[in-house]
């Protein structure tokens, strides 16, 4: 089971906290803060899981997710989406676009860690 996470988030202190958390848990973490070239970054990084913020500069997390799902190699890539918008419509849209897990801000560290571990374990089965 690979342990490589790509964190796409534009909030520097969330990046710092999550990176710390995931690295402590044994994950290798790449980070990126811009939506525009996020798909290219994912191609280059080949992560085992993507943590994706919904609202990003340049391109929305939802659009990035849709683009990822159109690429054969990312069709089953676990994507954990973080959002400040917890409305059911957003959740439905994300599920339609192929999100693996949807988490609303502010989340707990334990929730994030559990989700990352579970999603990667499920994908490697």
């Amino acid at each position: 089971m690979g342990r490589h996470v790509l964190l796409i988030e534009d909030e520097p202190n969330i990046i710092e906290a999550m990176r710390f958390l995931l690295v402590r848990d044994g994950w290798t973490v790449d980070t990126h803060s811009d939506g525009t070239d996020a798909v290219d970054v994912a191609r280059a990084a080949q992560p085992d899981l993507v943590v994706l913020d919904m609202m990003l500069p340049g391109k929305s997390g939802m659009d990035i997710l849709r683009e990822l799902r159109e690429i054969a190699e990312f069709a089953n890539l676990p994507v954990l989406m973080l959002t400040a918008r917890g409305q059911s419509r957003d959740r439905e849209m994300a599920e339609k676009a192929g999100v693996s897990r949807f988490m609303t801000k502010p989340f707990s560290n334990a929730e994030v860690l559990t989700a990352v571990r579970d999603l990667v374990a499920q994908a490697s089965r």
């Binding site: 969330i14 710092e16 989340f107």
Partner: protein, 435 residues
Amino acid sequence: MARDSLTGTRIRDRRSVAGIRQADLARQIGISASYLNLIEHNRRRIGGKLLINIAQALGVEPALLTEGAEAALISTLREAAADLGPNLAEVDRVEDFAGRYPGWSEVLVRAQRRLAGMERTIETLSDRLTHDPHLAASLHEVLSTAAAIRSTASILAETGEIEPEWRDRFHRNLNQDSRRLAESSKELVRYLDDSDSGEDQRGVPREEAEAFMAARGYHFAALETGGSTPEALIRAAPELTSQAARAIARGFLAQYVEDAARLPLRRIETAIADHGADLAALLPRIGVPLPVLLRRLATLPEGMLTGGAGAIVCDGSGSLLFRKPVAGFAMPRFGAPCPLWPVFTALSRPLVPVHRELVQVGRSSARFACTAIAWPEGEAGLEEDPLYRSVMLILPLPASDAAGDGHQQVGSSCRVCSRAACRARREPSILREEF
């Protein structure tokens, strides 16, 4: 049962509340217990000295026994019953209920008022949350900062050993984020407060133009007399900060000048003095097309029309081009309104007036006489389709005990409308449990 025929019921209830036995009260006022029993069961009319004596014995004003609950109480009880659907309550016995149980009636009335207030709040907030990009961005900022603080604080609190360099960094981040959260929260509150004041202009052109018109009461006396021009008014308007807002205001004022020329203020003023807002009487007397009359009635000086008037103008797509609010008739600030409004019905039959008396669901029982008509805007070329606009004048009707009967029920927008079985529904409402 008529309200004044329930005096006996009220006497019985007041006596019970006071803990006085029927026989004791009868003795105190000098009548037989059996006669008091007949009075209490509304089988004997009562008045004069006997009524005063009973009222004194019960320690209440005689009027409380004869008039019972106020008309407003009964009217609100009717509203509560109508809001929750037909056939749920025995509406024909509302006066009996209010007379027998004044305390419970008051509880219901207060709950109804509170519910109406909360629905209005939900309506406003839902509208903003769904469609207001500024608010969405502000909330994202607040929640993202809260997420950063929560995550960082958890690391500091729950991680046993942290290298000093990391610990210092997290402390710095916490300090930075907590300041940011305080600032963004204040900003959000300020934004919401400003929105509530109705004076906000946040760079949305149509809102700027509406703020410009609202600040002048939708009436431009200087244009009526030729004392100013649209361009001069626009130049002097601090609300109009963008080119787009100025263009919208210019369009509105051009129409205003055209309408004022066709129907001068003095002429309409005289006609209103004779006929009030009776469109059927005004139209033949004034002799202008109905769209002109409706637009003029919507932009009269304040106080000329009793109760005021609201108005809406939309184009063929249903997009609202002009809104003049009137108390009690909710118009969504963002998003699409209720398709049952006559202003939209009129688009399907241009040049034919559509008149409806409306009640908005979930608000008060206020009724409105709404008259709409669609007209072709400008001249269409040989190979062009005409473009239609529609205007609706909204006139508040006097309050009535029969509010809600025989009037068409409409909403403000689907999202905050509680009519479950509406054939015009576009999306589920957030107000009903079944959704």
